[in-house]
C-alpha cells in the first residue's frame, strides 16, 4: 500500500517537480494550491505526510501545520516546510507547529525524497504512540 503525500504550494512548477519525483518513487500524491485547500484535503484524504510551502494565499504553511496539530486526526502527520524565507520564521513557531524539517529553496528534489523516506520510516516505527517526538529512541 503506497504512502500518500500531500503537497501544498501556490507555485505550479514546484507542485509539478515534487509530484513527479514522488510519484516516480512510488508514492501517491495529492496537490493543493493554497493553505485552505491543503487543510481541507488533509481532513478528507488523511495523507501520511505533508509537504508545504510557507507563503501561500489564504493560509500560510505554518498556519496549516498548526491547524493540523490542533486536530487529533492529523496531529501526528509529519510535515516538511519548503521555503525561501526561513529566516522570517521564529524557531519557536516551527517547534510549536511540530514541523519535522525545514528545507530552503532551492532544494534538490533528491534531498527532499530522502527526507520523505526518512520521516515516513520513522512514523512507521512508532505508529501507536499518541505523540511522538522526533529524536526519541
Amino acid at each position: 500500500m503506497a504512502s500518500r503525500i500531500l503537497i501544498a504550494d501556490d507555485e505550479a512548477h514546484i507542485l509539478h517537480v515534487v509530484s513527479l519525483k514522488l510519484r516516480n518513487a512510488g508514492y501517491q500524491v495529492i496537490t493543493a494550491v493554497d493553505g485552505e485547500e491543503a487543510l481541507d484535503l488533509c481532513m478528507i484524504e488523511r495523507p501520511d505526510l505533508v509537504i508545504t510551502d510557507y507563503q501561500m494565499p489564504l493560509m500560510s504553511g505554518l498556519q496549516l501545520c498548526k491547524c493540523m496539530r490542533a486536530n487529533p486526526a492529523t496531529r501526528d502527520v509529519p510535515a516538511i516546510l519548503l521555503t525561501a524565507r526561513e529566516f522570517d520564521i521564529e524557531p519557536e513557531e516551527i517547534r510549536e507547529a511540530k514541523i519535522s524539517a525545514v528545507m530552503a529553496k532551492p532544494f534538490a528534489p533528491r534531498e527532499l525524497l530522502e527526507k520523505v523516506k526518512e520521516l515516513l520510516a520513522k512514523a512507521h516505527e512508532a505508529p501507536s504512540r499518541p505523540v511522538s517526538r522526533l529524536g526519541d529512541p
Binding site: 485552505e36 494565499p57 489564504l58 493560509m59 521555503t83 525561501a84 524565507r85 526561513e86 529566516f87
Partner: protein, 562 residues
Amino acid sequence: MATGLSKSRSLAGMSKMFAQLRTHLRELGLSMSVWDSQARPAGRFQPSCQLCQYIHGTGRLCAAAASGLAARIIGEGQPGKSLAPCGCCLVGTPVHQRRRLVGAVVGCYPPREMLQDESFARLCDRLQLDRQAMMSSGGDACRHTVAEADDFTHVLGWMLSREQALQTAQEELGNLSANLSSTYEELSLLYAISGEMNVMRQPKEFLQQVCSQLVEVMSISAAAGVIEAPSHRESRLGDLLSAEQAGGAEVVWAGEIALEAHQIGALVARHIIPRVKDNRPVLDNGFEPQEQDLKAIRNFVAAPLATEGRSVGMLVAFNKRSGDFDSVDLKLIGSIGNQAGVFLEYIRLYADMKDLLMGVLHALTASIDAKDPYTRGHSQRVAMISRRLAEECGLPPEKVQRIYLAGILHDVGKIGVSEAVLRKPGRLTVDEYDSVKHHPAIGAKILGGIRQLEDVVVAILTHHERPDGKGYPRGLKGEEVPLEGRIIGLADCLDAMTSHRTYRAALSLSEVAEEIRRNAGTQLDAALVEKLLSIGLAEFMEGLDRNGNGAGCLTPGAEDAK
C-alpha cells in the same frame, strides 16, 4: 467556515480574461456584463446590444434585468437565464476563484421573437420610429431565438471555465519561465566564476570580476568584496578594516553604490563580520544602521571568503532590486564565497611556495658565497645576465624563469671544493684546478634528486662545456651542449671578466667585447656572442641594473616582481 480574507472574494486579476470572453461573446451576437459578489456591476456596464442601445438610449432596462439575474445566480450559486422586460434574453453563470463565489457573468442578446412582439410595436410608435425600418435593421442584431437561451447558458459556463484555465496556465508558464531563467542565470554565473579561476590572477582582480558577475545576475544595485592584503595575513579581517590601516585590506566593488572604499570596509567590519557564524552566509532584509552614510543600504546578503575556518575576506550583495533577498540568494552567494575562498587560499599558497622556494635557493647559494667572498653576488649576477640573454633569444617566459633559476644555482657544486682552493689568492695548480672542475657534476648530483629541477640540473652540469669540445665534465661538442648551458656559460664568463679578481682587475667593456669575440665558436657559443655584441655590451649591462636588480643583491623576491 471560510477563513480567508475579504479580498479573496474579489475579481482582481481577471480583467484580461473577461475581455477575452467579451470578445468571443460579441462574435456570437451577445454582449456581456460582469457582476461582483454583491451583484454590483464590475466596471462600466455596456449596453446589451445595438438595438437596445438605439431604442432605450442607455440600455438601463437591460442593466436592471441583468443585475437581477446576477443576484439570483450569486444567491443560488447556479447558472441561470431570464427574459428582460425589454424582450432581451439574459443568460448567466457564476464566477469562482479559489473555490469561492466571487461574482457572475451575464450575457445578453435580443431574440428574433422580440421583433414580432406587441411591446416592440408600441415602443416604435412611442419613439416615433418607423417599425418596418426597425425590423430590417433589427434582423441583423437578432441572430438567435429564445429557445437557444438554455444552450447559451451552458456555452457561457464552458467558455468561462476554459478562459480561466487558460489564464491560470499562462500565469504558471510565466512563473515557470521566470524561475527557469533566473536558474540559468545562476548556473551561468557559477560557470563564469569557475572560468575566472586562473592561478596567475591577482586576488583583487579576481574578486572584482566576481562582483561584476554578481551584479549582472542577482538583480542587485551593487556588490562589493573585501580581502586582506598579503602583507597582513596574521591579523583578523575585522581589525584590518576597522583600523582603516593603510593597505591592510583591499576593497573592490561593482554596480552603483554611494559608498567609498573605507565606508564599505566599515560596513563589513561593524555590521557583517560580527554576525557571521561558522563561516555561513548572512542575510538582512531590514538593514537600519546608525551611521548616516550607510543608510543608502537597504538590505544585503554576505558570505565570508573562507577556508580552514579562517576568513580572508567577504563578499556582499546590496539592495535587491525586486524587494527582499531570499534563501536562493543566500545559497548562491554562500556557494560563490566558498569557491572564491578556496581559490584565493590556493593563490596565496602558490605565491608562498614560490617565495619559499626562492628563499631556500638563495640561502643555499649564499652559503657558498659565504665561503668565497669574491664570488658574493656572482650567482645573482649570472642569473640576471642569463635571464636577459634568454629573453633576447626570444625564449618563452617560463623558460626564461627556469634559466634564471639555473643561474642562481649554477655554482652550488662549489660546496664540494675545498675552501683553501676557493680562497687561494694566486694561480691554481693543475690539481687544484682539477678539483674545481668537479663543481658542475657535484652541483648536478646535489640537485639531481629533485624532479622539478631536472632542466636546471642540465644547465648546471653543462655550463662549462665548450663548442669546441674542450669543456668539462663530458667534453660535449657544438649543438650537443644544451642552449641553457651555453647561456649560463657565457653569462658566467661575462661576470668573471667584469669583476675584480685577486690576480687581475675587472676588464673594460671594450676588452670584454674583444675577448668574447676572440673566443666565439671555441669557448663561447658564436650565435650568442653575435647577439650580445649586436645589442652592445654597454647597453646590455646597463639594462640589467635598470631593472632595479642591482648587482650583489641577495634578498629573494625582488626578481619575482618581474
